[in-house]
Subunit: 209 residues, 2 copies
Amino acid sequence: MIDYIQDGTEIYRQSFATIRSEANLSSLPPDLERVAVRLIHSCGMTDIVSDLSASPGAATAGRKALIAGASILCDARMVAEGVTRKRLPAENAVICTLQHPDTPKLAEQMSTTRSAAALELWRDHLEGAIVAIGNAPTALFRLLELLDEGVPKPALILGFPVGFIGAAESKAALAANSRGVPFIALQGRRGGSAMASAAVNALAKEDEL
Amino acid sequence: MIDYIQDGTEIYRQSFATIRSEANLSSLPPDLERVAVRLIHSCGMTDIVSDLSASPGAATAGRKALIAGASILCDARMVAEGVTRKRLPAENAVICTLQHPDTPKLAEQMSTTRSAAALELWRDHLEGAIVAIGNAPTALFRLLELLDEGVPKPALILGFPVGFIGAAESKAALAANSRGVPFIALQGRRGGSAMASAAVNALAKEDEL
């Protein structure tokens, strides 16, 4: 037998304690602290704090929306899978339209990625929703375009697209002008579906465990 | 309209070109190079190369196993979701037993995490399989214990558990003694389901796009 901790709750407890002892969270507004801890937990990196950007009160707005039953719109099924259903306060719907049968056709018609085209199927769900983008920069760019077109506003945008082409740019565009929508984002190339769902999971429940 | 690249294939092409121009891949064996590129692509960080460890010929072994029809055993559904089915060379089965109805009971009986207990249901699938661990250090520790007990050997272990408790330790244990099984792992706290599935996706197809 190998010697390792096998108690899941204890692993979470020690993980969060290690993060709080190592990460510099002092620069963050209080409502964002638990979100930052869970983001760090999802990626193993304490230095993401310096790349975190958010509008004032964004975490509080997201928490209130989830309690009020907000749907969670995800750009990728990995994000949807990462949302811990039993943490959700109102059996909130978790929606991902990337694999919808209409999406490839829409992408072709719009000459864009499937990730961006999938947002066409979000239109009826956007009002008051939590948008969790953890994969595709084109999805975040398209969301900003839709907001410029006047679609109903979500309650919160979680901006965590990852990668080398458009990720940093799309999150910079969100932070520069979030079109009046509260947002939390990780600036730069880093991000990912695990971070997007970690942010949702942090907002979903006061208790960390 | 915002100006951004909307052609998915072009985004991939430019991403991989950016990675190759920025990352130092010269230290890697040739068969690991494409795996490293796709891992970097999944996380947005070129500096992971220095934390990458692998047994000689591990990527080649994994590629051959996939072509021969190897099953892919995943510790989390996010990993399974991240495997691009259309890249797989032999309609390989993608198996995750974490949500199997027997897993919670097994975890209780074994006084361990669900992630570790879920491996009990891998026993009949382990021989010649690709094991992709992208979340739970306890799953990787348990795999090493099972190999010590003499279970049939998988073809390749992809070790990418993430976090602050056990992640670095489990991957160090794998690299120190992989029980004769080829492995690719990211040492340290970093890792995650996106990296585990990116490794599978890299091995699945010669063509990067």
